[in-house]
Subunit: 326 residues, 2 copies
């Protein structure tokens, strides 16, 4: 939740001259997105989102993100569409930062999603995985298993400040996950951050997916594991298997998980819980007290890591497979 | 710049059922307003602002603020209009807070206003003063001269932390202003906070005034003094008399200042600079380091106090009066 950069109406109007968006009538900084500055624009032609990419986003990745949104939208996925400039490019420069104008997607993210919404999310995630096929650019997942150790090194020494014993527990966990991480699962473009605040609904109908700024190439089932973590746990830390069943069956109504993915799911879920634990721990320890950012509690994800460690089979997440005939 | 309270779409939809605003399609927390939580709503009927009044606003004052906006809008002033609920009331309750739905005013506030905009602001301020006539509710100005001493008592002991010598300088200043403060000037409803971020423009045309949450009954010329402070100084602390002339002549094109107001203006300007200095100093010293608020530098207003102290006549602000015939 942040607006890092303010802009004057003069520079904004000059910037917008390269787009076919009509005349600007209003712009407001909005309290969404942690990495970038976002403004909601009203013009004589409608509503748009203006995003200014701040330092935490690598400018070299922007063609991947914006190109992907374009690719997905062309293949029928409902997601924000970056508008082309008069020169055909999707990126411009505003206030010294890379900036894009993106179509405004009506809808609201659900603060309290229910099982039926989890089903919709599962279905949309699988549709995204299919729509991502053929996208020519590649972006490795810097926040997958190869990246966790260096992330951990930055927080390791101070981990016990957050909770006694954390240093040893995470070291063991990380080593175990590294050792067993799968090598050969179906790959493709994943969203990698499909939390509830990145999925819009109009009533109970999913209206679109947003925020592709962690998207990358990785195991498709890892994306499913991220959604199990972000959609199917209750505030008290308990796993809601009804939501898990809904999410997984929604996903499988579009794309069926292979036997290898089914088998790998508990480990992928542990790994993705560790990934969010590690980035939250780092932010928790490193964010200066005065920063205009709400820090998220890493311990929420410690609870999830422990839960997944005890899982033996994907059936415990709610994945349904026919019994072999007797 | 803050969203203090988040709301779920369920409670928002229930809350909106009492208004004739169509169906909700989107809501975003916006980074405007320091005292309240503001959301920009899109519905099938258009755009609206939802304001949740947080603790810093006294709920007893809300009928004054909302009633005033209604009164001003009915008299042709362009300002946001609070929408009535099915029961005729302007206020409801959302997330345990008083809340109002307000018409959305297109326009942008100017980060770098020029003299022509100052003229428009002067004209709009005088129009507001006239439109406020006949508004039956009263609200004393708690942040005028009677309130400054108690505000000062809360910061006095630590003032020299901000700048050496500040404690003595402000004590002398406050005593002098209290002694000479005018007793009998034209009164009415004033905006009391008409800074550039509270005035919207479409192109060079002023499209409306917003944020009436400091409005109160006080000397009309005190409101003019606040605008001289907030519109006519440059970032380097210098007074721009071209802007001052424009603001004052714009004001006088609608309502002419009396001889007593003309004479009192330097003292009113000193007093209003002291008022913003004192509240900023208090916030500067008292805001905890982790708070999600941008603190404004009180010293900007110390420079202004010193400037006004050296002013002998309103002509130095740019107020033009005919010479007496020779």
């Amino acid at each position: 939740m942040a607006v890092y950069t303010d802009i004057t109406e003069d520079e904004l109007i000059r910037f917008l001259a390269a787009y076919e968006v009509g005349s600007l009538t209003s712009y407001k900084g909005i309290a969404e997105g942690v990495e970038n500055s976002n403004f909601l624009l009203h013009t004589t032609k409608g509503a748009y989102i203006l995003t200014l990419y701040e330092k935490r986003v690598n400018a070299d990745d922007l063609p991947f993100f914006l190109g992907l949104m374009h690719h997905l939208a062309e293949r029928g996925l409902s997601c924000p569409l970056p508008l082309p400039r008069a020169d055909g490019k999707l990126l411009g420069t505003l206030s010294g930062r890379p900036a894009a104008v993106i179509s405004f997607l009506e809808g609201m993210w659900l603060r309290k999603p229910e099982a039926q919404h989890c089903r919709e999310v599962g279905r949309a995630l699988a549709s995204m995985h299919q729509a991502g096929e053929g996208f020519p650019l590649k972006r490795p997942n810097a926040l997958s298993v190869e990246g966790w150790r260096s992330l951990w090194r930055n927080s390791e020494a101070r981990a016990d400040e957050v909770q006694a014993g954390l240093k040893d527990e995470i070291a063991t966990e990380l080593a175990s996950i590294e050792e067993h991480w799968p090598k050969d699962l179906p790959e493709g473009v994943i969203h990698a951050d499909l939390f509830p605040d990145n999925v819009f609904f109009l009533g109970d109908r999913l209206s679109g997916l947003i925020d592709f700024y962690f998207a990358c190439n990785d195991f498709l089932a890892y994306d499913v594991a991220i959604c199990l973590n972000s959609w199917c746990f209750e505030k008290d830390g308990s796993y809601n298997i009804t939501k898990g069943m809904a999410l997984l069956s929604g996903y499988e109504s579009v794309r069926r998980l292979t036997a290898e993915e089914d088998e790998a799911l508990p480990l992928l879920a542990r790994g993705s819980a560790l990934r969010f634990f590690l980035t939250r721990l780092y932010d928790w320890l490193m964010t200066p007290p005065g920063a205009l950012v709400v820090k998220k509690d890493p311990l929420e994800y410690l609870t999830k890591i422990r839960f997944h460690r005890a899982i033996v089979s994907s059936a415990e997440y709610g994945l349904r497979r026919e019994e072999a005939p007797a």
